[in-house]
């Protein structure tokens, strides 16, 4: 796992990040620190959303990403700004790394007019047109066909963009996974299928849900190539996604990437977690993508304590600001309840070319 031939993705600049930090295929110190920073941003944001949920500032379902940060960061950092991203209800991390501001995410979680969807979507439905973030869907597996369609559009328009679709291990069981994989392969579409295998779909252990647990084999049964990678190791994911993205752009074919990871928290805020042992969680926490990568950078002499503290401080400020922003946010006027059921745009009959 994680031992890939390095390649150079078509565009190495991480246009997806808010900070537009350049990251090369062989990342150096600053790129690596950037990756770490991105993971810390997710973690701290999630911790804050947890806190705000307990304070009832955030309601509904809240699915946190703690433990899985290396996946979003390792992959999205290698995507181009024009690439489309399709995600699930566990998408705060993806959204943030795709380049959405923490303010607009947090405000959406608060249900404020200043949120990305004006409070209509909430935690499970973050969207951002600017960064080609095509939303979190809360129907398991139903983003996959959309990702296939986006790739069709890119191909038809002769763009070199790809669509990148995140989904859980549970999504693999659904029929829509099957249909989407076949279509993408059959039509040679530029889709990066990223299975975030955290070994549970809610309380269902992966091995009780899948007759065949080698997911790459499953992908192969659609003639899609792929790989499994240690999803707790951001560099492994990063390298795997460089390889994947190069393959997709060059071969004009889909790729399947299984990232083996773990969620440290409950499935959602309602989950009594009867289905797993505390010890199991403890074991996995030893592989925390942030602490392990931090140690690695420190061992490699790329990061000292001051730098780390500085990063954490900056991120903490960003998080605090997003909370302040959301606290000050306004309510979407009730008169707007029915707005966006249909487009405001009038019938365009006379605009026909």
């Amino acid at each position: 796992m994680g031992n890939y031939r390095m390649g150079t993705p078509k565009k190495t600049a991480s246009k997806k990040t808010t900070e537009k930090k350049a990251v090369s295929a062989k990342p150096g110190k600053s790129e690596k620190i950037h990756l770490l920073t991105q993971m810390i941003r997710i973690r701290q944001m999630e911790e804050k959303t947890y806190e705000m949920y307990t304070k009832e500032k955030i309601r509904g379902f809240l699915h946190l990403y703690d433990g899985e940060e290396a996946v979003a960061v390792g992959i999205i950092e290698n995507l181009d700004k024009e690439d489309g991203i399709v995600s699930t209800y566990r998408e705060h991390g993806h959204a943030l790394i795709a380049g959405m501001s923490m303010n607009s995410i947090m405000a959406e979680l608060y249900g404020k007019a200043e949120g990305c969807s004006g409070g209509r979507g909430g935690s499970m439905h973050l969207y951002d047109k600017k960064t080609n973030f095509f939303g979190g869907s809360a129907i398991v597996a139903n983003g996959l066909p959309m990702a296939v369609g986006l790739a069709m559009a890119y191909k038809m328009q002769n763009r070199n963009s790809i669509s990148c679709c995140f989904f859980g291990d549970g999504a693999v069981d659904e029929g829509e996974f099957h249909e989407s994989m076949n279509l993408a392969s059959l039509w040679n579409l530029p889709v990066l299928f990223v299975c975030e295998n955290n070994f549970y779909s809610m309380g269902m252990p992966f091995e009780l849900a899948q007759a065949e647990t080698d997911l790459v084999k499953k992908a192969n049964a659609y003639k899609i190539e792929g790989a499994a990678v240690d999803g707790m190791d951001v560099m492994a994911v990063y390298d795997a996604s460089v390889k994947a993205i190069n393959y997709i752009r060059e071969q004009k074919k889909p790729w399947f990437l299984e990232c083996q990871t773990y969620r440290f928290r409950a499935h959602s805020m309602f989950d009594p977690e009867r289905y797993r042992e505390k010890d199991e969680v403890k074991e996995w926490k030893k592989r925390d993508p942030i602490t392990t990568f931090t140690s690695r950078l420190q061992e490699e002499g790329l990061l000292d304590e001051d730098e780390l503290n500085e990063i954490k401080k900056r991120v903490a400020e960003e998080v605090e600001e997003s909370v302040e922003f959301s606290e000050k946010g306004t309510d979407e006027p009730i008169e707007n309840l029915t707005r966006f059921v249909y487009s405001d745009e009038p019938k365009t009959l006379n605009k026909s070319k």
Partner: protein, 332 residues
């Protein structure tokens, strides 16, 4: 006379007890669905049942709504009495082929040879800030389909009492449990009650107006009736209990008495079950009505997440009361 012992329990417990009772009584009954076992049910309904009945009768399924709903159909046709749980009605769209193209029509297509004694339970409704993909009320929509029976228990007693007759029914029965009701508490006779799955029930008597409703709407309507009573308007509240087939008799009897009807339905208005009720009443009682039948329904929007928006989109007791007060010729 034997003292009628009453037991207090939540709607959630009532559903659980109903399932336990059925599984104890009849070993053909089993429960199948996502997270019904290890997790204890996504709404905690089946907590403890895996431990009690084992994994052969409380079956955790992979995420495959079409697959396991269809498997429920097959198992029912093979002699079992499955209870299939689909977490929420929103996900049942993934199984609608099996429900509509298979379960609802096997009996007819086979000329009466193969009935499908299947019960499908699903959570329904909004009000929990779960947004557009988790908050629909589609029970009225399913009630459009011939071959299905559609139950909407609104009380603890019905939540407990409707499951057994549903399992005994030779045909597929959908049971819709409103998520907001799971924590609702009520009393019922110690051993549950025998209820039927064919009649509507008058839950409050009144002479001035009939509120026809079901599910969560019952509770909002009773609240509205309380508000109205303070102003001297006596509303009768009819709990439909069953959306297909509708119990015309009880509905018509009430409206014949009050000469006014309001339908309360959290589902969307256009083309909803509220329209059917309004039409039936008008067709039958046109010349007895003092004013047109009114409908108080959910706003026609995908459910928004923000609380103030979502609450504005749902029928509220005040709105129901207000609508009734505006009706022609009502004293009060």
């Amino acid at each position: 006379m034997k003292e009628l012992k009453q037991q207090k329990m939540t709607y959630r417990q009532a559903v659980r007890e109903a399932m336990r009772e059925a599984m104890i009584k009849d070993d053909r009954v089993f429960l199948m669905g996502e997270d019904v076992g290890l997790y204890g049910g996504c709404f905690n309904v089946s907590e403890g049942m895996l431990e009690e009945f084992g994994s052969e009768r409380v079956i955790d399924t992979p995420l495959s709504e079409s697959g396991f709903t269809g498997a429920g159909i097959g198992a029912a046709m093979g002699g079992m009495r499955p209870i299939v749980e689909i977490m929420t009605v929103n996900f049942s769209l993934l199984a609608s082929d099996q429900i509509i193209n298979t379960a609802a029509i096997q009996l007819y297509m086979s000329g009466g040879q193969f009935n499908v004694p299947l019960v499908i339970r699903m959570a329904t409704g909004g009000g929990k800030q779960l947004a557009a993909q988790h908050s629909r009320s589609l029970e009225g929509w399913y009630a459009h389909i011939p071959g299905l029976k559609v139950l909407t228990p609104a009380t603890v007693e019905d939540a407990r009492g409707m499951l057994w007759p549903a399992l005994e029914d030779p045909d597929p029965v959908l049971i819709f449990e409103n998520t907001t009701l799971y924590n609702y508490e009520g009393y019922m006779p110690d051993n549950g009650s025998i209820v039927d799955i064919s009649t509507a029930k008058v839950r409050r008597n009144g002479a001035d107006v009939s509120i026809i409703t079901y599910g969560i709407g019952l509770h909002k309507s009773l609240e509205a009736a309380g508000i109205l009573a303070e102003e001297g308007i006596e509303a009768e509240v009819v709990d439909l209990r069953v959306l297909r087939p509708l119990d015309n008799e009880t509905i018509f009897k009430s409206v014949s008495k009050t000469h006014r009807a309001v339908i309360v339905d959290e589902g969307w208005r256009s083309g909803g079950i509220s329209a059917e009720l309004s039409s039936r009443i008008t067709e039958k009682l046109f010349y007895e009505l003092d004013c047109p039948v009114e409908r108080v329904c959910g706003a026609e929007v995908p459910a928004p997440y923000a609380r103030h928006l979502e609450q504005a989109s749902l029928p509220q007791p005040e709105k129901i009361a207000e609508t009734i007060k505006q009706m022609g010729g009502l004293h009060g």
